[in-house]
Subunit: 441 residues, 2 copies
């Protein structure tokens, strides 16, 4: 009998392993942040003991959701301005507010609030891009959130960084500083092809590869971006990035709304994954990502909320629901994007996009213990004939009861274990007042 | 000082009155099921007292949501079959299950479960169509839910009714039987133009008008329905219904996906409202309702979940979010369907569709006390700059804390006051087992 840190027993385990095994009355033994064993409750109880046993009798046990593109430090700008044209939203509201308020402390506080909110949404890893990203790293570490973090690289001076090289160096510093932190990776994240020169895009990719860091950028969010690229470079965005040696298995894209068939083939060939932000793209009328083409061409795709200034929450379950329904309709095929596929997108497929499929994205022996438990005993979750259908079409984040990241229990029975929500409310009210006053200036 | 049944005080009151007034630190006095007074907390406390005072300090207080088209007795078929073509979904799964299981007790039990679920979603009135609708009336009465109920009229024999006339008479009986029930109205509800003959549609409308009952039917859900109507009657569905004298201010439609500009004008002229079921229409690939045209032509529109067999939950907040985002995208205009409009759609506009705008749909003196309280102190609801934006783009039903229908408190701090959820879970498990076994037969 081996003693372990934690045992979860009696659960309805949705493994997302290659066979998509479901274990009824299943159990997991967790030790040292990893999954040590998985099987029926009987099997696990025979071989493992623990002082911390979680009874999952009425619960679904599955890998945590991965949110493939966020700007979590924008929490305090949630709902700051809505129902506007993109340029007015950015130029009249978001950018002025950011220029005035975004400082290290703002980023730390907003990121910490967002981490608490992410946990309540069952999200166990994010891929984030913003400014002062080392502050976000500190907040994520404190909250226990797994995160890939990038410092947005722009080819013009900002309050915090005078040059794009300084932005790249900041991320490399973060990479060095957080090297031994099991939760945090730093990535190199040029903001976009329209805010970065060719030279900086090339430098960014070279530096990332020199330090073995992931690369992430916004691409082809709007039609205008593609038209401008064609005018300026004579080729479409994916071809442009390919021509400068930017693309590779270490690259992932956000949005990818306006990507044509040839570009999709190129992404598949280069192993570049796309994080689709359905709700944000709809709300800002950017368009519908070509999910059918991505699937046909073998591009790995996942889902993401983007920042709450444009969505306006961090629920991946919402993205799953909306993406599946909307893409059935635009493809005129109710069998398109079935529920099981959508659940894979936000777990194992997302893990593949970030080259982390050996560590996260499924419940398998040796993987990190990033696990969520969802309650079946709720009016809206009953009856349940197919767990994937429920996850995509029925459930809300309210069903997420327990969240474990890297083996640590962060939420139990919907209560955050270490984070004081009242403190976060006070902080949010403080920033709301400041931002509200600025708006009426 | 006048004594009243209930006082709600210190709330952020979203009235949805014609001026769309918001009362910060507002209060309401409720007596005999109605709103007796509304104003600031100071004003109300000066003039009214009560033994039951609800403190809404951290809450939004607003009229309950209206769900304009449901089949609540289908609860136990939630997620029974998904990701299928419409005809296979109906013919291979839903109809056989209904033929075998739908009996009076099934309808009562499923409806009672659904009423509990509706309350948890902040819904204070539904417009429902199904079979054994008097059982649904009894379940809604027991739960305290306001409901307009119709017996689906089909022009072929069913287990329960051998003729469509019997279906019409059943609804008229319900109308008589529940005449003094403040919560329940019966309506006459021909299922559709493709399941009812011209003769039965005419009889249905005549009978409804003789008894002063509302009329509701599915219309133009799919393109095929329109094509078939053109072939059979030589005109489109709205023109067809108009030609037989069916349309009027007492009629409301469900779906209305394939309605052209001329039909929209005709609906506006006749005062016929449309309850749009966005999620269901997307999930079954039926199409995108012409919301822009409806608005331009002055057709009153509202939102509805349809049944949970095709959606798969009863959240109106989800419908609001998805409708607004999807229609911004298909109209290529992020300013389209702003948040305030969407909130009106599911409150006062829905009330107008059912000719109940003098009774419900807003918080005004003399109206029924159908009121919901939503929690502001939640991570995902902070900060809040615009309450409408939060309702449409941010909030989930988890934020609904308290629900009052006809002056009676049905949910307090997210706990149902009189309904035992554990009993409902047991029942749901029982039916799930039966239905599951039937599926594998």
């Amino acid at each position: 009998m081996q003693h372990t840190d934690t045992i979860i027993k009696n659960g309805y385990i949705v493994t997302i392993n290659p066979e998509m095994d479901i274990i009824e009355n299943g159990a997991l033994a967790i030790d040292n942040g990893k999954i040590l064993a998985i099987g029926t409750t009987e099997e696990i109880e025979k071989n493992y003991s623990s002082n911390k046993v979680i009874d999952a009798s009425t619960k679904i046990v599955m890998p945590g959701f991965i949110n493939g593109h966020t700007h979590i430090a924008m929490t305090y700008l949630r709902g700051y301005a809505d129902d506007l044209l993109l340029h007015s939203w950015l130029q009249d509201y978001i950018w002025p507010a950011e220029a005035r308020f975004v400082k290290a402390k703002f980023v730390y506080d907003a990121s910490y609030h967002a981490c608490a909110e992410l946990i309540k949404n069952g999200i166990t890893m994010i891929n984030d891009m913003y400014f002062y990203s080392k502050e976000t790293a500190r907040a994520a570490t404190k909250a226990g959130m797994r995160a890939i973090l990038g410092e947005g690289i722009l080819d013009f001076p900002m309050a915090f960084h005078k040059t794009p090289e300084s932005m790249i160096n900041y991320a490399i510093e973060g990479h060095e500083e957080f090297k031994d932190n099991e939760l945090i990776d730093f990535a190199i994240t040029p903001h976009s092809i329209y805010t970065c020169s060719k030279k900086i895009l090339i430098t960014a990719a070279e530096k990332a590869r020199a330090y073995n860091m992931l690369i992430h950028t916004h691409l082809s969010e709007t039609k205008k971006e593609v038209d401008d690229c064609l005018e300026q470079h004579g080729v479409r965005p994916v071809q442009y990035l390919d021509s400068i040696g930017f693309l590779g298995k270490d690259v992932s894209l956000a949005h990818g709304v306006w990507i044509d068939n040839d570009e999709q083939k190129l992404l598949a060939e280069k192993g570049v994954g796309v994080n689709i932000c359905t709700e944000c793209n709809l709300k800002l009328s950017s368009g519908f990502a070509p999910i059918k083409g991505y699937k046909e061409n073998g591009v790995i795709i996942s889902l993401a909320t983007d920042g709450v200034a444009s969505n306006n929450n961090l629920s991946i379950l919402d993205e799953m629901d909306m993406t599946s329904k909307v893409h059935k309709a635009i493809n005129n095929d109710p069998t398109f994007l079935n529920a099981e596929e959508v659940v894979r997108m936000v777990t194992i497929d997302a893990a593949k996009i970030f080259n982390k499929e050996d560590k996260i994205g499924s419940l398998e022996v040796g993987k990190k213990a990033d696990i969520i438990l969802l309650e079946r005993n709720k009016l809206e979750n009953m009856p349940m004939y197919n767990v994937y259908s429920h996850l995509v079409y029925t459930m809300h984040s309210e069903s997420v009861q327990d969240v474990i990241i890297n083996g640590k229990v962060l939420m139990q029975d919907r209560k955050l274990v270490e984070i004081d929500e009242d403190e976060l409310f006070d902080k949010a009210r403080f920033y709301q007042k400041e931002l509200q006053e600025a708006k009426s200036d």
